[in-house]
Structures are given as structure tokens and as C-alpha cells.
């Protein structure tokens, strides 16, 4: 069952404008928050157990707590560079409720004491950019941004920065590099961005959904927020469901919601006559789950981790039995090869290598040892690089090969897919 903490009014077109947003209690929480002690907000967020909704699931309050107390200017960056294949929730949020994001950001900025924030939106989202920019203008003219917001003495400026098409800019340090006008290559950690980020200043990077979720946390308090979800995965989350379901789309459910319920109830199940084959539960970088595993899966961080996968950005890709897994791995590997920034050698060369191996299998040139080689190369790419893109490429590769080995072996032996009618289309 959907629980709409964030997406309650998303279906109302007027929610997009400042007036419509205010009509539905918009900016009420901001006024409340500005009267609070910033530290209390941070504590509240910590207590709420809100975790980053962008992919890594790091506790937001803890991240905020890493900021050093050295009087340096701080920056808040909103990560709206939604590039994970299968994810489209941030676009929806920005297009339907830009003011919700802005409000969440002002509260967060107030909590961490930042005077300047950027919303980094991926360049392809032309509509979102336009709508958010429009909303920013409205917010400025209404006094929610700028000097002395709502008479609280808190100053804050917000700007939109438009990306230009690089998946890696969704990684927080990659985004910071990109915002600094460089190639979006992730930076070495340590130092972490909370200590030295944008231009060497302390910087907090949060996902759109995380920042929006700060509103209900501050509004109703941590305990109320914790009522939803599980012990360790509190609150609700927007899941983008795509693939072979009858009603793909974005659904907000409490964390811990069973995966099969999400597919069968909210999304209307699979197309008639089709059987579930696999689900990628957290965007293309999450390891795939087989149909049996899906039955046990709950959509929260722990349950999926137990099954060897991850919640990621909450992008559920449902795969039915008409798809060839070798072909899909080819698509995924092509993506990571295309998006590797080229900085670290294992990732730069490894993604290319994996892509070549999978495509040589797909073109009928594969050898049986290539199947093991995929696993071995992937294993040696994991945890060896600056950012997690290398892992993101390796994890699906390993899981696809291990869980659907028969399909790979069939492809190598016969030079064609085991699934009838699922011909590989040359990329």
C-alpha cells in the first residue's frame, strides 16, 4: 500500500507553482524550522534514521555531523543528476513539486549553516531545469530565499547548475568536480567532501528525495517518521518501477514493503502470460535477484543486502521470461563502459574488457572460459578504485553470470540465446 508522505499532491498540477504549493501547507515547515535551533534539526534528522536516498544509503544526519566546526563557508549540493538506469523518481519530484525540494533544501541548509547551495540537475532534464529555475525565481520573490529569510536572520542563496551528460557526476565528488568546472571525475577520499569538498570547503551532497524527506521529519518529528518503515530503514521511499510490468511508474511505499507486493499490487503485475524471471531492485548497478529470491525480498536496505543485492536508488527493473539475460548484461556493460570516467585503471580498462567479453559472447565468438573470466575480472575491479562505478559494473556482471550461468553457457555453445525470440540487437 502506498504511503504518500512526499508524493501526496504530485498528481495536482497546481502543486508545481508557489501558490499551489502554499495552498497545500507548503513552506509551513520552513517557518517552523527557522525558529528551531539548527543543531536540534540535525539531531532530529539523526534520530529519524533517514538514510540517503541516492544509492549508498548513508545516514543523512550522521553525514551532516561530519562537518568540521571551523567557521569556513559550507555548501549544500543537491544531487539531481539522476543517471542510474531505471531511476526516474527525482525527475518526477522536480517536475511535480519543485518547491518541496527547495523547502527541504532551505531547511537542510539552515540546519548545517550553509549560505549557498546548488541544485545540480542533469542536462537532459530540460523540463526539470526550467521548472526548478522558475520555482527558484518565485521563492526569491516570495522571500524564501535571499537575505534574512522570513525574518529569521538566516541568509541563503540557491542556484541551479546544469550537468552535461555524465553518469559519474552522480557520484558526490564527481559532482563537485563538475561543479568546479572540471571533468566530472571523482576525487580521492580522504578528505571527504564534508571536510573538503566544493573548492576545498566543507560540502554536503544529498539526493533530491533525501532533502525533500527532511520536511516530514522536521514537521512531524523523528518518531512519527520512524513509524513508517523498519527499524533500520526508516520512513518511506519512492520506487521507480520499470520494465515488464503493466503499470510502470513511481510509487511511494514504506521501506520494508515486500517486493512482490510492489510488483503485483501497485504495478498491476506482469503482462499476461509472462513469468517473472528476475528483478534488479536498485538500479542497474545492483545485483540481480532471481524470481525465487524476489519472493523473500522486502524493499529495505537490510533485507536486500541479505540477499546480496542492494536498494540503491530504488529503481526496480522487472524482467520477465521474454528477456535474454546475456543480452541484458550486454546492455548494462555497454552502459558502464560508456560512463567510466577513465581515471582509475581497473575501472577504465575493466569496464571496457567486460563489455568486450560479453559482446564477444553475444556475437557468437565467446569461449566457455570467458564466463569465468567475466567473474574474475569483475572481482578484481571491485573496491580497487576511487569511486564505486567500478563496483557498480562488477556487481551486476557477477550476479548475472552466477545466477543465470545456464543462459551464458547456452549462448557460448549454440551462439544464440536460450530464450526463444530474444535476439540480440547489435549496439
Amino acid at each position: 500500500m502506498e504511503i504518500k508522505l512526499l508524493s501526496e499532491h504530485y498528481d495536482k498540477p497546481e502543486y508545481r507553482s508557489l501558490e499551489g504549493y502554499k495552498k497545500h501547507d507548503g513552506y509551513r515547515v520552513l517557518a517552523k524550522a527557522l525558529k528551531m535551533d539548527p543543531k536540534a534539526i540535525v539531531e532530529e534528522v539523526k534520530a529519524s534514521g533517514l538514510r540517503g536516498r541516492g544509492g549508498a544509503g548513508f545516514p543523512t544526519g550522521v553525514k551532516w555531523g561530519f562537518l568540521p566546526d571551523n567557521g569556513e563557508p559550507r555548501y549544500l549540493l543537491c544531487n539531481a543528476d539522476e543517471g542510474e538506469p531505471g531511476t526516474f523518481k527525482d525527475r518526477l519530484m522536480m517536475e511535480r513539486a519543485p518547491h518541496q525540494l527547495i523547502e527541504g533544501m532551505i531547511i537542510s541548509a539552515f540546519a548545517i549553516g550553509s549560505k549557498k547551495s546548488y541544485i545540480y540537475i542533469r542536462g537532459e532534464y530540460d523540463d526539470s531545469i526550467r521548472i526548478v529555475r522558475e520555482a527558484l525565481k518565485e521563492a526569491y520573490s516570495a522571500g524564501f530565499l535571499g537575505q534574512n529569510i522570513l525574518g529569521s536572520g538566516f541568509d541563503h542563496d540557491m542556484d541551479v547548475y546544469v550537468g552535461a551528460g555524465a553518469y559519474i557526476c552522480g557520484e558526490e565528488t564527481g559532482m563537485i568536480s563538475s561543479l568546479e568546472g572540471k571533468k566530472g571525475q571523482p576525487k580521492l577520499k580522504p578528505p571527504f567532501p564534508a571536510v573538503k569538498g566544493y573548492l576545498g570547503k566543507p560540502t554536503i551532497v544529498n539526493n533530491v528525495e533525501t532533502l525533500a524527506a527532511v520536511i516530514p521529519v522536521v514537521d512531524k518529528g523523528a518518531q512519527a517518521y520512524r513509524q513508517h518503515g523498519t527499524e533500520k530503514s526508516a520512513g518511506t521511499k519512492l520506487f521507480s518501477v520499470s520494465g515488464n510490468v503493466v503499470k510502470p511508474g513511481t510509487y511511494e511505499v514504506a521501506l520494508g514493503y515486500p517486493l512482490m507486493d510492489l510488483i503485483n499490487n501497485e504495478c498491476g503485475g506482469l503482462k499476461p502470460g509472462r513469468k517473472l524471471k528476475a528483478v534488479i531492485p536498485g538500479g542497474s548497478s545492483a545485483p540481480v535477484l532471481t524470481a525465487e529470491e524476489c519472493a523473500q525480498a522486502n524493499m529495505d536496505y537490510e533485507s536486500l543486502a541479505q540477499l546480496g543485492s542492494m536498494l540503491g536508488s530504488g529503481a526496480v527493473i522487472v524482467i520477465d521470461d521474454s528477456n535474454c539475460m546475456v543480452d541484458l548484461l550486454g546492455v548494462i556493460m555497454h552502459f558502464y563502459h560508456h560512463e567510466s570516467c577513465g581515471q582509475c585503471t581497473p575501472c577504465r580498462e575493466g569496464t571496457g574488457w567486460l563489455n568486450k567479453i560479453v559482446h564477444s559472447v553475444l556475437s557468437g565468438q565467446g569461449r566457455l572460459q570467458d564466463i569465468d573470466l567475466i567473474v574474475r575480472v569483475s572481482e578484481h575491479m571491485m573496491g580497487r578504485t576511487i569511486c564505486a562505478l567500478s563496483d557498480a559494473a562488477a556487481l551486476p556482471a557477477i550476479s548475472f553470470v552466477k545466477k543465470f550461468r545456464d543462459e551464458f553457457e547456452f549462448y557460448v555453445r549454440e551462439g544464440r540465446s536460450k530464450v526463444k525470440g530474444a535476439a540480440h540487437v547489435e549496439m
Binding site: G86, K116, G163, G181, G243
Partner: protein
């Protein structure tokens, strides 16, 4: 090709962007967008030299940024740049077949400009519209829930 120059407003825009962010380097991406807009959809090497002089940023740096991001075209494109998402959700819903169909229907090779200069069809990675697959982006606009016929129809209706 003649030397590239931005329009007067374009130069103003660049100057404003240079002051807008904490570091002038941040202006590189917005300025490249501007150049692309004023240069028929692509960024030529001449315009990089021009921009480098205008912004006082080394050419190599601008070229690094230019070549890193996929939304900047380093080759001329048609008036309508059709980008079909071929990532996983779209691929499962027939985006690759759609691309082939489009290329065949308009007699243009992938990534190349059609003879009349109207079209360039390319495959791209996830555009964040997986729930409405297959989809394509023509210049800035998204077209979703396509079928081969509707896609052809949409492109045919374009100027």
C-alpha cells in the same frame, strides 16, 4: 569554416557566468552550452579557441570538459537531434529495434546527419524515463511511450 564568434548577448552571458560562480572555471559548462546553441548544435574546435580567449581559460581545459560530457556534440548534427535511450528498461521494451526502424525509415546512419540536414539519430544511455519506455529526446523535448509508428510520425511532423 569561418572563425566562430558569439553574438553580443552571448558574450554578455559568458561574462555574467564568469562572475556567477565561486570560480570562473564553473562557467565552462554553461558557456559551452551557449556556444553549442549558437553554433547549430555543436561545438567546433574554432569555437573552443574563441571561448578560451574570451574566458581566459586554457584550451586544453575547455576541450577536456567538452570531450568528457556527452551532451556536447563535437561533430555537426542535424536540426533535430533524435536521441533514443537504449538502456536496460528501454532495451527491454524494444528501443534498439526502434532505433533501427527509425534509421531505416529516414535513410540515415546512426550518428550521422541526414542528407537534408534535418536529422541525426543517436542512441544514448538512460535518460531517466524508464517508466515510459521506449522513449526518445528530440533536441530538448522528451517523447515517451513510443511505438515504431508513432516515433516515425513524430519525426515526420517536425519541421
Amino acid at each position: 569554416m569561418a572563425d566562430f564568434q558569439l553574438s553580443a548577448e552571448g558574450v554578455e552571458f559568458v561574462k555574467a557566468e564568469l562572475k556567477r560562480y565561486e570560480t570562473p572555471l564553473s562557467a565552462v559548462i554553461p558557456c559551452l552550452y551557449r556556444v553549442q546553441k549558437e553554433n547549430q548544435g555543436w561545438v567546433s574546435p574554432e569555437s573552443v579557441s574563441y571561448l578560451s580567449q574570451l574566458m581566459d581559460i586554457p584550451e586544453a581545459h575547455i576541450n577536456e570538459v567538452l570531450s568528457f560530457y556527452t551532451m556536447f556534440n563535437r561533430e555537426p548534427v542535424g536540426r533535430h537531434h533524435v536521441q533514443v535511450c537504449c538502456n536496460i528498461s528501454c532495451a527491454m521494451n524494444g528501443a534498439r529495434e526502434l532505433t533501427h526502424h527509425l534509421c531505416k525509415s529516414f535513410d540515415v546512419k546512426e550518428g550521422e546527419v541526414s542528407k537534408d540536414g534535418k536529422l541525426t539519430i543517436t542512441r544514448v544511455e538512460c535518460l531517466g524515463s524508464c517508466g515510459t519506455a521506449p522513449m526518445m529526446q528530440i533536441n530538448d523535448r522528451y517523447y515517451e511511450n513510443l511505438s515504431p509508428d508513432s516515433a516515425v510520425k513524430i519525426i515526420k511532423e517536425l519541421e
